[in-house]
């Protein structure tokens, strides 16, 4: 598989909705430990709103339209910090995709980088602050370091890196978001935002896996 098609993007969103719903209790438990216990519920509500929009709106003709629809639906349904961050992420993905229905590996890497940059700009988070960025940034590096021509393999590597990096937030002290108010007591818990970022990348990888 060499290109990321509009159909892959649709499958990504569907897979993400499914993975978030399946893991919403786990996300909420992680968030109860160091936040306010609503991350799973909020994201599940958001992706349900996305699915409803996808069912009722006319099908998007290009990637820009699809990502904008997803971003706006998340923005107006998730709330909290995750709403603007993930909503803004998908809006940023769509920005340079006008008229495009497929992307090369390099192009997909570029829009993911723009999405990550939007999360960092809005959340003002650096690597190591115990946030989504800690899963996303290393995953993007892994994606870019993977050989060209194997998009599915590169996304698989990115998802695996995101999983490991989300786990690696356990010993970190939170410096952004609500968990930061706990100070040292945030150490020893996996970051819920990094974990949901891993789930999104896992969904992306599964949506691009060639059929067995």
């Amino acid at each position: 598989m060499e290109a990321f098609e509009l159909e892959n993007a649709r499958s990504w969103i569907k897979a993400a909705a499914l993975l978030i719903a399946k893991n919403s209790r786990m996300l909420t438990e992680l968030d109860t430990a160091i936040g306010d216990g609503d991350h799973g519920e909020n994201l599940m509500r958001g992706f349900k709103a996305v699915e409803k929009k996808l069912e009722t709106a006319p099908p998007s003709a290009d990637l820009a339209g699809l990502f904008k629809l997803v971003g706006m639906a998340l923005l107006s349904s998730v709330g909290g910090a995750a709403g603007p961050l993930y909503g803004g992420f998908f809006l940023a993905l769509g920005k340079s995709c006008a008229g495009k229905t497929n992307l090369s590996k390099a192009e997909l890497g570029e829009i993911l980088a723009e999405g990550l940059a939007d999360i960092q700009r809005r959340g003002k988070a650096q690597l190591g602050d115990k946030t989504m960025v800690d899963a996303f940034a290393p995953a993007l590096q892994a994606f870019r370091a993977s050989p060209d021509g194997d998009l599915a393999g590169a996304l698989g590597a990115a998802a695996e890196q995101a999983r490991q990096s989300a786990e690696a937030t356990i010993p970190l002290q939170a410096r952004k978001g609500r968990a930061s108010y706990m100070g040292e007591r945030s150490i020893g818990h996996q970051d819920p935002g990094a974990t949901s970022s891993w789930l999104l990348l896992q969904a992306l990888a599964s949506a691009c896996k060639p059929a067995p």
């Binding site: 909420t28 109860t32 936040g35 306010d36 216990g37 609503d38 519920e41 909020n42 509500r45 923005l75 107006s76 349904s77 998730v78 709330g79 909290g80 910090a81 995750a82 709403g83 603007p84 961050l85 803004g88 809005r122 959340g123 002290q173 410096r175 952004k176 978001g177 609500r178 930061s180 108010y181 706990m182 100070g183 007591r185």
Partner: protein, 341 residues
């Protein structure tokens, strides 16, 4: 038979966790429909006579679970609109955008925002959307919580008890037709003049989480909590009301710092599950400490005004007052949560 989740842990007067906010609003509409209008899609509460021509529109919002804040403070002399999010979750930009448009009387809009990551980001987005429509919007943050010690390595101090005082004072100013620039300046002055600190005896249970937000042994308390059921800064052994009041007052007094001779408003807030009898015991000691420090208490407020669901606990807010603030405090207010004439 429907599956029961966490039976025996959550005991609440609700019908279903998903319906909590909507049914609460339906109740508010039934009770206060003469003063408020409630919009359900997107969700916001506005005063019935909105938009008031020539008046700055005051809009606030935040997660539900802090009642009467913010919806209970919509009305003459306080907020023009409030945007309730799900319990303890910030509302979304479309709510703030629509609410702001609904109360735009042509004199500009002021957003009063508690300094929580989610609230700030969502209000920022709403502001961008309103500005794109040519509407003038200013923002005042509240970040009065002295429990957040090192704001360099956190999301900054949280907005807590001072928010209700801010809404009352700026609401009075807007009612008297103060302009947007002046109201913003007054808001910044209030932001710099008030400090708070809170504590919890018990955690609280978010309806959709179904279990308490943290575990607390019977003989311990959380010191330095926010208002979202999050654990505090540190955990200490249960102490007497007087000792707890001292633990709250000390960091407040040393923060701005307050000076001998300052005139202050003392606000003793209940977190939702603490009865007035205990709040007065706290106020008693707070007043003694203030007096010994050389402060003059010129106004006070005692009761559950910024809550965390059924959490037992209290917070104390001190606001340095002057003649202008006293007049604005005394000005008539007519809302479900705060009312005097």
């Amino acid at each position: 038979m429907p599956e029961l989740v966490h039976t025996g842990v959550m005991k609440k007067l609700i019908n279903s966790p998903q319906d909590v906010v909507r049914e609460e609003l339906e109740g508010m509409e039934a009770a206060h429909g003469d003063r408020l209008r409630i919009n359900y899609d997107p969700v916001y509460i506005v005063r019935k006579d909105a938009p008031v021509k020539g008046k700055v529109g005051l809009v606030s919002g935040g997660g539900s679970g802090h009642e009467p804040m913010h919806g209970g403070y919509v009305g003459t002399g306080m907020l023009d609109a409030a945007c309730p999010g799900p319990v303890f979750t910030s509302p979304t930009p479309d709510q703030m955008y629509e609410a702001s448009k609904a109360v735009n009387g042509g004199a500009g809009i002021l957003h009063i925002v508690k300094n929580y990551t989610g609230d700030v980001m969502n209000f920022d987005l709403a502001k961008e959307m309103l500005q794109a429509d040519g509407i003038v919007v200013e923002t005042v943050l509240t970040d009065d919580d002295v429990a957040v010690e090192n704001s360099l390595y956190t999301a900054g101090r949280r907005g807590v008890g001072l928010t209700v005082l801010m809404e009352k004072l700026l609401g009075a100013a807007a009612e008297q037709r103060m302009g947007l620039g002046e109201i913003k300046k007054l808001g910044e002055h209030i932001r710099g003049s008030g400090r708070s600190m809170g504590m919890a005896l018990t955690p609280c249970t978010v309806p959709h989480a179904g279990k308490p937000s943290f575990e607390l042994p019977d003989d311990e308390i959380e010191l330095g909590i926010g208002i979202h059921g999050e654990p505090g800064r540190r955990r200490v052994k249960l102490a007497s009301a007087d000792q707890i009041t001292e633990m709250l007052m000390e960091p407040i007094l040393s923060d701005i710092p307050f000076k001998k001779g300052d005139e202050v408003l003392v606000f003793v807030n209940g977190m939702g599950g603490t009865p007035l009898v205990e709040l007065y015991i706290i106020y008693r000691r707070a007043a003694q400490i203030a007096e010994k420090f050389g402060l003059k208490i010129v106004r006070n407020l005692i009761g559950p005004y910024v809550t965390s669901l059924e959490m037992a606990g209290t917070s104390i807010t001190l606001l340095r007052m002057n003649d202008q603030l006293c007049k604005l405090w005394d000005a008539p207010v007519d809302t479900p949560g705060l009312r005097w004439s």
